[in-house]
Amino acid sequence: MQQTMPTAAGAAPARRRKERIDRGIKARSDDVFALTSYREMLYVAIPPAIPVVLLLVLPLILPIYWQKVLLSAAVFAVLAMSWDFLASVGMVSLGQALFFGVGAYVAGILDHYLGLPVWLSIPLGTLFGGLICTVLLLPVLRLRGIYFAMVTLVLPLMFERIIEATGLLGGTEGLTGLTSFPNPWIELYLIGTVVLLTLFGFRRLMTSDYGLVLKGIRDNDRSVMSAGLNIYWYKAQALFIGGAICAFCGAYMTHVQMFVGMPAFALDYSILPIATAVVGGMGTFAGSVLGAFLLVPLSEFLRGVGGWRTVLYALSLVGFIVLLPEGIFHYVRRKYHQFERWVGVEASS
């Protein structure tokens, strides 16, 4: 449990502790000007290259069935990154399905009622999906704490009810027979590109000064406010960014499945991204991608167990948040950057 702390207060009988030291190559490559060899350049370049290469190559080599799994993993990776982004601005969403569903329905409506082509309905679905959700959640932005979580949990369920009750937008049947993508390659490489853009975009954004302000809102909103910054405006911007990205996933899936219906608001789209981000490692975005590419294929293997999957996600979520809150990515990154050794502990001098 105490893996992040190099102390050994509890390990009295062994009288030793784990010591973690940055690898020399890490220290040298922290500053880009200190790179002196190909080895060091590779050390810096390989980790970000892994997702790029995988997302470019995998569609080519995977069989059709696993291509679909890849697609689904990519969608959940994006949803998880959006969740992670919102959480790092202090907005804990329990309802990514809201953004997803609204995006999906906007795209579906544009296609079904207005007959817009795919290359228009997806961008418009993204834009309006993000806008609609931002406007809906505006009242909650003023409040700290659990209100955002509560309202985002309530809203998708409400939308489901409203559609069911009023029979609008196809009611329980949904809208069927929508336009599909021209060919599966566009489908796969589009979502792959979006995963990469989101991943590197968010990582870049959060280390910029703008990102620091966003994180500052989570850590100490009053301090940010007294610096003359309108935190509601920044939160709304963040909400729009996060929401629009999810809405894109919704719009995209609408056209992949050629269908949009009440399942777009299903709890799956809320819980899986959270599980993914938590298991992978919060606050890194790379963790979300890693988590998605672990959990989604895993759930394919567990297909036989049916509904147990949700139970499993929920339990792994609880397990990770309680026992290993740093997530897998942090762990892997630490191994990459640091080596560990056991050192004897002398009686305190």
Partner: protein, 260 residues
Amino acid sequence: MADNQQNREKPILLRVDGLSKSFGGVHAVVGVSFELRRNELLGIIGPNGSGKTTLVNLITGFLRPDAGRVIYGGRDITGWMPYRIARLGIARTFQMVKPFPALPAFKNLVIPLFSPRVKSLAGGRYGDRDSVAKDLLEDVGFERESSVTYKAAGSLPHGYLKRLELAKCLALRADLIILDELFSGLSIAELAGIVPIIEKLMVEGKTVIMIEHRLRELFRIADRVVVLNFGRAIAEGKPAEVMEKDEVKKAYLGSEEEEG
């Protein structure tokens, strides 16, 4: 503006007029009025729970007053949102210092430097925030070439955190700086380092309000003091005179807060 005759030296920067606020049935601030002239250092003192911090929150917009007005530089800012008030040039520190612990000290100043106020004062350009931040930290006593500027703010000693808070006000290029218990928890040595910074602010023409429990240190630098008790302003005047008043003695009598 009835007291124009008294306006002998400097113009009035801030006027607080009958400010009141209650929470549920508790009257936290009741009809507090005072004036503050430009380049004046006003101390606000009073026993625990006398409404000092609530008063600051009312002035800076973090709370909406039930009654009364706040006029800053001739403009009625009552009920404005905190960020708009900050943009006018009122900066404040918080009683609880909460830096962004994972960031290096100088990166903590990026947020105030991001403010639209800084941008407009700098003529529409932000400039290099990191080097501005390092200069500011030097102004508040972070040694320039030492590592302390680059240390994670979470690992800074208390004295440096307080300086960091001050630096945030400087970063905003505020005219009026409200310091909420800046001295609390500081050792004599740390105080000796921070008092000159405040004196320098006064030389530079800033206006300062200090909420303080440490009266001895405050009285050395304050021009004027307002005493609050149970939300009411019970006395006002020069530090030495104020403490002679009976009601002030009474308010502090039996209160352990007389000396910090």
